[in-house]
């Protein structure tokens, strides 16, 4: 196996979930969101571990992701959080997935597929309370949806949910508005005699920051992988989360670059004085952000080593002049901890104007994921 790899600590994953669950009320079920390959951590293994850690639901973005989990033997209820096309409705049906229904159109496709295959399909109604993405937005839409639903015997509506757009911010007013809107919409549903088992709204930020967004099921993604949704949430968190992934590489070769000589494409780095430079077998095709060229650092021998020159597709260079112990085969940490130093996905994302989620989901397939207890 190549030296550039992502080590994933499953015991820390369990610990993060335990911490998050401690914030929820009793009888609140826990969904681990494993979409986008479990945010880059490997959905099959994470799904398996989630069940062991006490999760009773899994969340995916596409029916295809759910189908893959089912085919690997996952038995837990799986909610497809995103919309489904006519074709995709069949996948939800065939693999016993609970499908998000954000519009009457999707409900019709789903119902059609259910009739065709002679099998009922479970669904959760999606309401848009402020995200401006998918879901029923107006009370009138809900009323007419409920009306038409009564004649759709292929659909077993078991839940209703919404998504919070700004629960990770200091200003709570938008989230409060969303929760109120959700409660108003739930009332309209209740008045029409519809009774549902599952009601959910809280995402990781909702769980960490609010007490009344839980309803009876919470959906946690980023927090289970050990990251806070924002700096604000991190600074105010009542629990300790720790990243479960350590992204490692190693030094493949070392050379001396003399004063005035350049490194990498476009010669964007020129050595000021003689520098000892190491080459790492990792580049942007592995998901290491090219935008971090000449900006970020890695850890070698417990010390920070800056990246010099442009990150290449498969390799990058670091300056180890101040780390005399570093040599070929020295272990390198791209993201994680080494001795008393650490660099997190948030540290990297801060340096290139994005968020931890993007860093994690960009780690490519070419990087093997290795699981440890």
């Amino acid at each position: 196996m190549r030296k550039t790899r992502a080590i994933i600590r499953l015991s820390q994953f369990e610990e993060n979930i335990k911490q998050l669950k401690s914030l929820t009320k009793p009888n609140t079920a826990f969904m681990v969101v494993v979409k986008a390959n479990a945010y880059g951590h490997g959905s099959l293994k994470i799904a398996e571990q989630a069940a062991k850690a006490g999760a009773s639901w899994l969340g995916v973005a596409l029916p295809e992701e759910g189908a893959e989990l089912r085919e690997s033997g996952v038995q837990l209820p799986i909610l497809v959080l995103g919309d489904a096309s006519q074709e995709q409705c069949k996948i939800a049906l065939q693999h016993n997935l609970t499908q998000c229904v954000p519009s009457i159109g999707t409900a019709r496709y789903l119902n059609e597929a259910a009739r065709k295959y002679g099998k009922k399909v479970k669904a959760h109604l999606k309401l848009d309370t402020g995200m401006g993405r998918i879901g029923l937005r107006r009370i009138e839409e809900i009323k007419s949806f409920v009306n038409e639903l009564s004649s759709m015997d292929g659909i077993e509506l078991e839940g209703v949910f919404t998504h919070l757009a700004a629960a990770d911010e200091a200003d709570t007013s938008f989230t409060r508005k969303q929760i109120k809107k959700f409660d108003d919409m739930l009332l309209v549903i209740k008045e029409r005699g519809i009774r549902l088992r599952w009601v959910h709204a809280a995402n990781s930020a909702g769980v960490l920051q609010y007490q009344d967004a839980d309803y009876n099921l919470v959906r946690c993604g980023i927090s289970t992988y050990g990251y806070y949704p924002s700096n604000f949430v991190k600074d105010n968190a009542k629990i300790e989360l720790s990243p479960i992934m350590q992204w490692e590489s190693c030094i493949s070769s070392v050379r001396v670059i003399n004063s005035g000589e350049s490194v990498s494409y476009g010669c964007t780095y020129t050595a000021k004085g003689d520098r000892r430079v190491a080459v790492l077998p990792v580049g942007y095709a592995d998901g290491y952000p090219r935008r971090l060229s000449n900006k970020a650092f890695v850890l070698v021998c417990g010390k920070k080593a800056p990246i010099i020159g442009r990150v290449c597709m498969d390799q990058m260079m670091i300056d180890i002049t101040d780390i005399p112990d570093a040599s070929a085969d020295s272990s390198v940490v791209l993201m994680g901890e080494q001795k008393s130093e650490k660099i997190t996905a948030d540290d990297l994302s801060d340096l290139c104007d994005t968020i931890s989620y993007e860093i994690l989901t960009s780690i490519s397939e070419r990087v093997p994921r290795v699981y440890q207890d």
Binding site: D183, L187, K190, G193, R195, R197, Y215, L217
Partner: protein
């Protein structure tokens, strides 16, 4: 305000009461409830199992068991649109069901004869000075309450903020014998 608007207003108002205050007020309400003659004389009590921002009933249920009372909790069957009173001997027998409300096992319903109920403790979004009740609009209690004995007592419980002077009332609405909040006890005038 019509019923829908009133419901919306009450749900929002109730959920804005801080959780700690809701718990305190619930304790006051349930303490008063246990001091009522209707409670002392009752052998079998029907009481809802609270969730979210409703007046909390979990401690009351445990205390009622200690007082030697028999307890039944409501189980709603949405297909048949009925509410079945189910006897339990502990809250541990319940698991989350519709809306996440703790319910008895649907596969082995411990139904009890509604005629045996001496006191029914009823939830609601609002009540008025004539003991009329505003529920969620599905009609479960309106259909259930007439099945009780005439001598059974029915009492609605709520936070004082949920009491109004007069609710809009329709022919199928069934009023209660009394309404208890953390500040007041309202008894309906009975025409005997």
């Amino acid at each position: 305000m019509n019923k829908s608007e009133l419901r919306k207003h009450m749900v929002n108002m109730r959920s804005r009461i801080p959780a700690k205050i809701r718990t305190e007020k619930s304790q006051i309400i349930m303490k008063k409830l246990r001091s009522l003659q209707a409670y002392k004389e009752a052998k079998l009590i029907l009481v809802y199992v609270s969730i979210r921002s409703e007046v909390e009933t979990h401690s009351f249920i445990n205390e009622a068991f200690e007082d030697g009372k028999r307890i039944a909790v409501p189980l709603t069957i949405s297909k048949a649109k009925v509410l079945l009173p189910c006897e339990i001997s502990s809250l541990d027998e319940l698991t989350p069901g519709t809306w996440g409300i703790l319910e008895p096992d649907k596969n082995n319903i411990p139904e009890v004869d509604s005629k045996g109920i001496d006191l029914a403790v009823v939830p609601g979004l609002a009540f008025d000075s004539h003991c009329n009740r505003l529920g969620f609009g599905a009609g479960y209690y309106d259909r259930f309450l007439p099945s009780l004995r005439k001598s059974a007592a029915t009492i609605g419980i709520c936070f004082d903020e949920q009491l109004v002077e007069q609710l809009p009332v329709e022919s199928f609405d069934v009023p209660l014998d009394s309404v208890l909040s953390n500040l007041r006890l309202i008894q309906a005038e009975r025409i005997d």
